[in-house]
Symmetry: C2
Subunit: 159 residues, 2 copies
DNA sequence: ACGCTATGGTTGAGCTTTCAACCATAGGAG
DNA sequence: CTCCTATGGTTGAAAGCTCAACCATAGCGT
C-alpha cells in the first residue's frame, strides 16, 4: 500500500466549496422543477434530448449516453414518463433488441411549459452570479473534467 | 409574464458541460465509496464533519447546515449510521429539543479506513486533470456560487 | 449451422431522498 | 402566567436511484 497523498489545505478548501456549491445548485434546480412542473430534473433532461433529436426520437442507449445516465436509471425513468403519457417506446426494426423513445405531443407541451422557469432558475443560481470570464473558465474546466472521466461510464473503470 | 431570456448558445454549452461533469464526478465518488467501504458519500461527509468537531460532537442542526443537508435527510442518515454503530445520539441539556450526534470509535475507524481510497478517487477524477490555475479558478467560482445561493437553504426562497 | 460472447434493454429488491405532517420545547408579547 | 409563534428534530409514505440478475438478439469464429 503506497503512501496516501492527502489533499493540501488549499485543495480541500476547493473541494468543499465544490461540494457545497454543486449540492446547492442541484437542489435548487430540482426543487424549482418539482414545485412548478411536477417533474424531477432527470425527466426534463430526457425530454430536452428527445426534443432536439430528429423526429423527437432516440435510441435508449443514445439517450443514456448523452446524459450520462445508467441504462437502468433511464429505463425506469422512461417507464414512469410513459405512464404520464410524455414519452412512447417503439421497437427498432433493424435491431430487435433495441428500443426507441419518442417524445409525445403532450410531452413536448409539458416541456415547453417547464422551460422558462427552469432557465430562469439556472440563470439566477449560476450565470447571473459569475463574470463572463468565470463562465468561460467554468466551461473549460467542466469540459476537461468530462473528457478526463471514464468513458462510456459503465463497467470498465470501477470493476 | 415577461419575455423569456433563453440561454445563449455559449451558456448552454457551459451548462451542459457542467451537468455532465458534475454527474460524472458524483457518480464516480459514490461508486468508489460504496464499493470499497460500503457507505454512501453522505455518510462519509457526515463523519468527516463530526471527526473535526470538538469531542467529535455536533448539534444536528449544525451538521445539517455545514453540509447543506435537509434536516430530514440528516435525521434518516444518522438513524442508519446509528444502527451501524458509527454514531450515537445524545440529548442536549441546555435545550431539550436539541440533539447531539457523536462519532463513535468504531465510526472513526471506519472513516479512517475509507479516507485514502476516497481521496485518491477525488484526485484522479478532479485535481489530477486540472492545472493549478484552473483549480484556483474553480475554487473562486464555487465560493461565489455558494455565497450567492439562498442561505439557510430551506423554506424562504422557494415557497 | 453451431456455439460463444457481447450488446441493448428491462426488472425487482433494497436503499436513499424528499415532502409534508407532526411533536415537543423555547422564547417572546400581552 | 398564558397564549402564540418559531425552532429543533423526527417520522412515514411515496418517489427515485443503484445494483445485480436477467432475457433476447446480434454477430463473430469455426
Amino acid at each position: 500500500m503506497a503512501e496516501v497523498r492527502w489533499l493540501s489545505k488549499e485543495h480541500q478548501r476547493v473541494w468543499r466549496n465544490y461540494l457545497a456549491a454543486t449540492r446547492m445548485l442541484e437542489t435548487g434546480i430540482e426543487r424549482q422543477l418539482q414545485r412548478d412542473s411536477h417533474m424531477p430534473a432527470t425527466y426534463y433532461e430526457i425530454m430536452v434530448s428527445l426534443s432536439e433529436a430528429p423526429d423527437r426520437t432516440l435510441r435508449m442507449s443514445e439517450l443514456a449516453e448523452r446524459n450520462r445516465f445508467s441504462r437502468s436509471r433511464l429505463s425506469h425513468a422512461v417507464a414512469r414518463m410513459e405512464a404520464e403519457g410524455w414519452v412512447e417506446r417503439r421497437e427498432c426494426p433493424s435491431d430487435k433488441r433495441g428500443a426507441f423513445a419518442v417524445l409525445t405531443e403532450a410531452g413536448f407541451a409539458v416541456l415547453a411549459d417547464a422551460a422558462p422557469g427552469h432557465v430562469e432558475q439556472v440563470r439566477s443560481l449560476l450565470f447571473d452570479n459569475l463574470t463572463d470570464e468565470q463562465i468561460n473558465q467554468l466551461g473549460e474546466i467542466c469540459a476537461t473534467i468530462r473528457k478526463a472521466g471514464p468513458d462510456p461510464f459503465a463497467g470498465i473503470w470501477i470493476p
